[in-house]
């Protein structure tokens, strides 16, 4: 009994160290500095009031949030058929191979994959050059540096985190359940809406939370693929820390981002009638 406890604490220690020193302490540090003026000591709310004072800040903030919600929905729409295909349609033999293919972008790293999209979409990129070659266009299409290219990049780097949780829940869906519904006269659409979607809801919610967090907190895709109009809030934070060296302001922005993502997820869980402790199942 005594021994078991020792083992328990030894195993717990790394987790606790990680949580305390790499997550809790830096966050407290940042939280404190967000209530401090940029130079000198004291308590101030001006870092937060600056956010509401300048239109560019809160407009970017709202745009980023709405855009991240949109990309999450889009990720669901694109990922669900893929997950369904991989778990229910294709034979097991190929399914694991295809899933492995999906993982490849993760091995390479986000920066490289995003630059991959630049070489695809750029003025002298693969797509424009091919179109020019077959004579469909004579001037390159403006494919890069706009909201569409940014959305593609965000989708590409986050999609897998939607596909995998949905696949997990779909795998536990008994095929006989689909057959039973069909046997009882349900159309394909009804089966999808009444059986498949409700069954995979935990996976959908799980995937949506991860994708939303990844997208709203992403810096690389908006920075490299986005245009002037697609300013991402993380870029504002980056600017505060590294361009204007206003760390207190940056910290305040960081906490605003944390706040809005937490609120959005909480609302999404409320609206879908799911509970946070059930999502992991």
């Amino acid at each position: 009994m005594e021994n078991n406890k020792k083992v328990f604490y030894i195993l717990l220690a790394p987790v606790l160290l990680w949580l305390v020193f790499l997550i809790i302490v830096p966050h407290i540090e940042l939280l404190i500095s967000s209530f401090k003026p940029n130079s000198g000591d004291g308590f101030t709310l001006e870092n937060y009031s600056a956010f509401f004072a300048d239109k560019i800040y809160w407009k970017t903030f709202i745009n980023t949030t709405l855009y991240a919600i949109g990309v999450t929905l889009l990720a669901f729409v694109v990922s669900f058929p893929i997950a369904f295909y991989l778990t229910k349609v294709v034979s097991r033999k190929y399914a694991s191979f295809l899933t492995l293919l999906l993982l490849i972008p993760l091995w390479i790293g986000e920066l490289v994959t995003i630059y991959g999209w630049v070489t695809l979409l750029g003025d002298n990129g693969v797509i424009n050059e091919s179109l020019k070659f077959i004579g469909l266009i004579d001037k390159p299409l403006p494919l890069l540096y706009n909201n569409i290219s940014m959305t593609i990049g965000l989708l590409y780097m986050s999609m897998l985190f939607m596909i995998v949780p949905i696949m997990t829940t779909l795998e536990s869906l008994d095929d006989a359940m689909i057959e039973a519904a069909s046997d009882l006269g349900a159309s394909k659409w009804t089966i999808f809406r009444r059986i498949v979607i409700p069954h995979s809801m935990p996976g959908i919610i799980n995937g949506s939370i991860i994708v939303f967090m990844l997208v709203i907190g992403d810096y690389v895709a908006p920075n490299i693929l986005g245009g002037k109009s697609s300013l991402w809030f993380t870029e504002q934070i980056y600017n505060q820390f590294l361009s204007t060296f206003n760390w207190s302001q940056g910290a305040a922005f960081g906490f605003l981002l944390l706040g809005i993502s937490s609120i959005t997820i909480w609302m999404a869980l409320r609206l879908s009638g799911q509970k946070l402790d059930k999502v992991g199942e």
Binding site: D174, A180, S182, D183, L184, G185, A186, T190, R194, P198
Partner: protein, 352 residues
């Protein structure tokens, strides 16, 4: 036009280079309880899936109520399935599960409610409407699955080994319940199983399938007492199986050297079956048309009313004999020599 509710005509099914079903013919009358009995992999589930429309036949035809089912999808066929895994919808409660099919037909709400409540009370689940599926016991889930299919008023209800997931006691109980439910409702049941006892107890007729072929389609009584093939004799009920080495006039000699007289044989048998209960221990001298032999008891297998013993006649064969539980046989013990008789008609010989 015949009055048969289901007619399976010359049905064959091939998968790549594997024959799952070969020239199957079955006619089922309305209100019958038919079992399709066979070992796993014999093609019985394939047959069920073809009737339901989840699989396409390679040759032949399935007629339901006299109409060919060629090209008609599962949701348009007047049959419903109770799946082996039951396949209840865990995201819905009992009422929603049973109402699922009726809602698809866009019936008025009041009518759906009446049908569902009526069906739930028929299967003994009144008051369970708002229960979640995971709150139910195995037997209750079973009944919800049956109610969900029966509420659709199918011409035929197909049941794919629905009792196999239950423990033995409950299975015995559900057997009786299912048979009574069928009698009361009068729907035609086609019951797939590998358990011969389920098939014998519940069915009006049983089709025994082996390797895609129907070996015998008959009443449980005939199946048990007059099996047409060696496979049926061995598969249905308990049986003593002897491989026959040769025939010497009226004497059949087994591979292990036991000899027994079987008169009027007009073919060379390779297999011989004798039921454990066909043997009469310590027979009356006056009995006629029987074969009497002596054997040594090797083991007594006490199991209450099912007590049996293993005996060894001359040769190396071991014979299982059912022992009636009366005082006369209680003294029997291992090593005793007993006189055993068996009627000639109970000795069943087969070519293969």
């Amino acid at each position: 036009m015949s009055s048969n509710i289901l007619e399976i005509k010359n049905l064959s099914k091939y998968f790549d280079n594997f024959t799952a079903l070969k020239d199957v013919n079955i006619s089922v009358k309305e209100g019958e309880f038919i079992s399709i009995l066979g070992p796993s992999g014999c093609g019985k589930t394939t047959l069920l899936r073809i009737i339901a429309g989840f699989l396409q036949e390679s040759e032949g035809d399935v007629l339901i109520e006299g109409k060919s089912m060629k090209g008609i999808p599962p949701e348009k066929r007047p049959v419903n399935i109770v799946f082996q895994s039951l396949a209840l919808f865990p995201m819905m409660n009992v009422y929603e599960n049973v109402a699922f099919g009726l809602k698809r037909q866009k019936l008025p709400k009041a009518e759906i409610k009446k049908s569902v409540l009526d069906m739930l009370s028929r299967v003994g689940l009144q008051g369970y409407e708002s229960k979640q599926i995971n709150e139910l016991s195995g037997g209750q889930k079973q009944r919800v699955a049956i109610a969900r299919s029966l509420v659709m008023k199918p011409s035929i209800l197909l049941l794919d080994e629905p009792l196999s997931a239950l423990d033995r006691k409950l299975r015995e109980h559900m057997k009786v319940e299912l048979k009574e439910l069928q009698k009361e409702i009068g729907t035609t049941f086609i019951y797939i199983t590998h358990d011969q006892s389920e098939a014998l107890v519940m069915s009006d007729r049983v089709a025994v399938i082996n390797k895609g072929l129907i070996e015998q389609l008959d009443t449980p009584h005939n199946l048990y007492n007059n099996p047409k093939t060696g496979f049926v004799a061995g598969f249905v009920g308990e049986n003593n199986r002897f491989e026959v080495a040769s025939r010497d006039g009226q004497k059949v000699v087994t591979k292990h050297g036991w000899q027994i007289t079987k008169p009027d044989l007009d073919f060379e048998p390779t297999l011989m079956y004798i039921r454990p209960e066909a043997f009469i221990v310590d027979p009356d001298e006056s009995m006629k048309g029987v074969e009497v032999f002596e054997a040594d008891i090797t083991t007594i297998l006490f199991d209450g009313a099912n007590t049996k013993m293993l005996v060894k006649p001359e040769g190396k064969d071991e014979i299982l004999i059912a022992l009636p539980q009366n005082a006369k046989f209680q003294a029997l013990k291992q090593g005793d020599r007993v006189k055993v008789a068996v009627a000639h008609e109970n000795i069943k010989c087969y070519k293969e």
